[in-house]
């Protein structure tokens, strides 16, 4: 069974969200998602300062097996991207909730946080897809 930390929020497209305070969130893909993808070999991230809307395609993860779009789970402005992933995409596999994070977003509408799944909700979702 994959690791689903209780302190994070989730969306059905398998991204996780960590609330950092000051209206900033960190976004990555879940352990379950990296496991389905297999070895990640490239990650294409959004530009810093890009405006994104919930559900926008904001990047691509390419594994040996397949290419998968990354969707913005919330609306806001990209304030930082994980440049480490350019040289070390395998961090997405080895540490999906830590060094394998994708980008940080300054939220434009903090109330959107209420629509996210908690760990329990995401666990149920993964089980229903299995």
């Amino acid at each position: 069974m994959s690791n689903i930390p209780s302190e994070l929020k989730y969306v059905a497209s398998h991204e996780w969200i960590r609330v950092e305070g000051d209206g900033v969130v960190t976004i990555g893909i879940t352990d379950h998602a990296q496991d389905l993808l297999g070895d990640v070999v490239f990650v294409e991230l959004p530009e810093v300062d890009a405006d994104v809307e919930t559900g926008d395609e904001s990047g691509v993860v390419e594994s040996v097996k397949a290419a998968s779009d990354i969707y913005a789970p919330l609306s806001g402005v990209v304030v930082e991207v994980n440049e480490e992933l350019e040289d070390s995409p395998e961090l997405v596999n080895s540490d999906p909730y830590g060094d394998g994070w994708f980008f940080k977003l300054k939220l434009s509408d903090a109330s959107e946080l209420e629509s996210l799944l908690d760990a329990e909700g995401y666990t149920d979702l993964c089980e229903s897809e299995a």
Binding site: G38, D39, V41, F42, E62, V64, K65, A67
Partner: protein, 368 residues
């Protein structure tokens, strides 16, 4: 639930992720496909390939039958145990399957017989086709060997470690093997063949002995590898995958298999010969090439290849090459394609180099 090989419990024990492969539950990887790939290029890895189909061809007409059945000519097999790669074609010259045939006896002796290894996904149609083609021959028998398991041990250290795992009596047999040759030993068949572009062995052995041998190999440090790395290794080596790079609608001449067609002697009739000769006469319009993409991203099968001023083609197999650190692919393109093309990836055109379809052999890059 699919069919299980005799190594199924070993795979579970060693942490394999199992997936359906042509009706079989097979390991895709044991943790990381990329690590397993590097393991084979740099040291040694082992693959369970027991799902492959083994058919023995016996009878006084065995040789003449195979000379008719296959586009390559088994008369080239002049030493006991020697192996030959061939396409098995239909009357239109399309590829029914690709296979390896071994000469199991001295050539030309009474009781001369052959062993053929075909793909698992094509098993039923292959067996049916092979049986149908015996019609014009008085004495040929086809015997499938479903109780043989098969392990491929591949990589620069594969032979050394296999010798340490296999026991003294068989060590000597391995030492005498030349490349593309096999030897029988008390129900085992040990061949210096593979599908990775590295040196190594493919060993067929009775199912009830395979788990112990697999463990003995693991104890020597040979790492279990899944079919995921087998695919990236074969693609880097420029070896075709049946069903992706060619099938019944594709001529071997358009699948980089021209070298496997034995045109001489001209009087030899084989299935598909007339069709191939007509194709050659008319001019072959497509070819299978290699593509190398320096840009970030991964080439995938079925992506469109655009050759400016020439026409369009399609990727037949594509992947990220762990050895080269960039993406490579095989593609079927118009015969006039030179050394540059574009591939359409998610709506964008990305330039690629066109090379001979072979990227890595024995751990080293082989194209310029």
């Amino acid at each position: 639930m699919g069919s299980k090989t005799a190594l199924y419990e070993k795979h579970q024990e060693m942490g394999a992720k199992l997936v359906d492969f042509g009706g079989w539950d097979m390991p895709i990887h044991y943790g990381s496909q990329v690590d397993e790939h590097h393991q084979v290029r740099n040291a040694s890895g082992m693959f369970d390939v027991s799902h492959m189909t083994v058919v023995d061809v016996t009878g006084t007409d065995a040789k003449e039958y195979l000379r008719y059945l296959l586009a390559n000519d088994v008369v080239k097999l002049q030493d006991k145990g020697k192996a030959l790669y061939s396409g098995m074609l239909n009357d239109d010259g399309g590829v029914i399957d690709d296979l390896i045939v071994y000469l199991m006896t001295e050539p030309g002796v009474a009781g001369e017989w052959f062993r053929v290894v075909v793909n698992c996904a094509t098993r039923e149609k292959d067996l049916r086709w092979m049986a149908d083609q015996t019609a014009g021959f008085d004495d040929v028998a086809l015997t499938e060997q479903p109780d043989l398991a098969m392990i491929a041990i591949q990589g620069p250290d594969a032979i050394t470690l296999s010798k340490q795992a296999i026991g003294e009596s068989r060590t000597n047999l391995i030492e005498k093997l030349s490349v593309f040759q096999g030897v029988e030993s008390e129900g085992w068949f040990i061949a210096r063949t593979g599908y990775t572009g590295e040196d190594g062995l493919e060993i067929m052995l009775p199912e009830d002995e395979v788990a112990d041998f697999w463990q003995a190999l693991a104890d020597q440090g040979v790492k279990p590898c899944g079919l995921g790395s087998r695919d990236t290794l074969r693609l880097e080596a420029g070896m075709n995958l049946y069903g992706s790079d060619m099938d019944e609608t594709v001529s071997p001449l358009a699948a980089n298999m021209g070298w496997t067609i034995a045109w001489e002697p001209q009087e030899r009739t084989f299935v598909g010969r007339e069709a191939l000769e007509a194709q050659k006469e008319a001019g072959v319009t497509e070819k299978l090439v290699g593509l190398v993409m320096e840009a970030r991203g991964v080439l995938r099968s079925h992506q469109k290849v655009i050759v400016e001023g020439v026409g369009e083609g399609e990727i037949t197999s594509g992947t990220f090459s762990p050895t080269l650190g960039c993406s490579v692919a095989m593609a079927r393109v118009p015969a006039a394609t030179a050394d540059q093309a574009d591939v359409e990836i998610r709506g964008k055109r990305v330039p690629v180099r066109v090379v001979r379809p072979s990227f890595v052999r024995n751990g080293k890059k082989v194209f310029d």
